[in-house]
Amino acid sequence: MSKKAESWGSRVGLILAMAGNAVGLGNFLRFPVQAVQNGGGAFIIPYLVCFLLMGIPLLFVEWSMGRFGGKNGHHSTPFILDSMDKRKFWKYIGVFGIFTNVAVASYYCYLESWTLSWVWHSISGSFSGQTQEQVAGFFGDYVSLTTIEPIIFWIICLLLNTWILSKGLSGGVEKVAKIGMPLLIIFGVFLAYKAITLKAGEEGAILDGIAGLNFLWTPQFDTIWSAKVWLAAAGQIFFTLSVGMGSIHCYASYVKSKDDIALNAMSAGFMNEFVEVVLGSAILIPIAIGYLGIDKVVEMTASGGLGLGFKTLPFLFEQWGGFLAVFAGVAWFGLLFFAGITSSLAMGTPVMGFLKDEFGWKTQKAAWTFGLVVFLLGLPTVLFFNYGVFDEYDYWAGTVSLVVFALIEIILFAWVFGMDKGWKEIMDGADIKVPSIYKFIIKYVTPIFLGSVFIGSLPGIWDKITNKEIYQKIAETTDPKVIEELNTQMTFVNGSRIGLLLLWIAIAYLVYVAYKKRIKEGRFTS
């Protein structure tokens, strides 16, 4: 008797898993900061335009590519792309869909482990009675590995991810999504309520929580014509929807050809938008502004939302006192943990899909191999966090790679595979009628949008490659100790890039081996 193929348990489970894949720490830490930095309420206009013209089309494209590949038993991008055209090189473009997941998971699991650790410290009262500087110092000591604790939490987090992945799609990933997503929303609603009802003069607050919302949502319409704002909006849509990664293709490849993808894609995509725009905007900034004032928060968000989320919020929660302070800490970091784990699990599945499809591995073996690879590749991000290794992984794998892959995949889908065939794929089994304007948008508008985002990022990429920022810092200092530190940082940064490049080449080699194996076994290739 043949073993039953892996599948989703239920449609709601698939949508929650797909939404969980998209909902990440960025929904709560990155979106509000991007809004503050790019025109407040006016940011929402380019943001929503990018969602309609780039995000939704990419969701349709990735869901339908995934389901199309799944028909031929492909569950990862190398052979999904390979099945869409006769030319042989597409499978190597598909390498991005595995590379990104492995590389991002390598640093993302570390970030995820911080949330787990901060939940523990919220419960154990580590932040109780500490000053804001002490709480911030706790974070600095943590990432500097002054104790072994960060490594322990990181390994626990990796083991948890791997164990869940080893339980398969419906037995692991889907179950976590069904528990994690509702809990995340409950925690988010609680924190948003507390943030909005914050009153100046009560519990140490200097401003009403509403002042934060007012600051965040006041539109500065003069920013709307700025290319920088549009690039930031497009970038945010990319990160928030997890497009250009290969994980959506993988999840969708387990959907049968006559089942809907159009409504599923919309439902999961909008669920992510609800969490990001409605909940994400109502927590971090209103609480921070309520306690610290607008000027201080603007200054703090200049370096991103991570510091505010981990260094400042635990101190602010303490102002609520007693049980409420503990519960708020658990809710905030618990929410971030669920946002993180539902995303990191999605990063594991394409890698496992590849190993299972091409080398006949069982789910457990594939999961534990993924865990081991992520451990080995993640080690430098943990040990050398202060040398910029973590940021380097994030930039190349979590930013540049996504844009490159999304740009190429939409060209493949709309221009090589063909828009007529592509549209049929989107509409097959659809439970909603997708407006036919999207045929035009996918063919012309989205590629132009993505091309513009890519071209707009080129100066930044060049500055990164040439280490402009580090050289600038070296030029600005005369202290030999600082110069030595910056040179050491440059060595680690360059080493990270070489490591990532070698990873891409190694995956490409595995794809080549798999291709040869397929030919030898007479299995389907393009």
Binding site: S7, G41, N214, T218, L263, F274
Partner: protein, 47 residues
């Protein structure tokens, strides 16, 4: 809150919340297909 911030926030959040709930309601309302589909829970129900 000033009027422009209030209008921007309420308009955006109401639209996004309404569309999110509408699509999710459509998912819940759509009955499973009679033939074998992608979801193992539906297979078990048919047994």
């Amino acid at each position: 809150m000033n009027t422009s911030a209030l209008i921007t926030m309420i308009t955006t959040e109401v639209i996004i919340t309404a569309v999110t709930f509408y699509f999710f309601w459509r998912v819940l309302k759509t009955p499973p297909r009679p033939e074998e589909d992608s979801y193992s829970d539906n297979d078990e129900e048919e047994r």
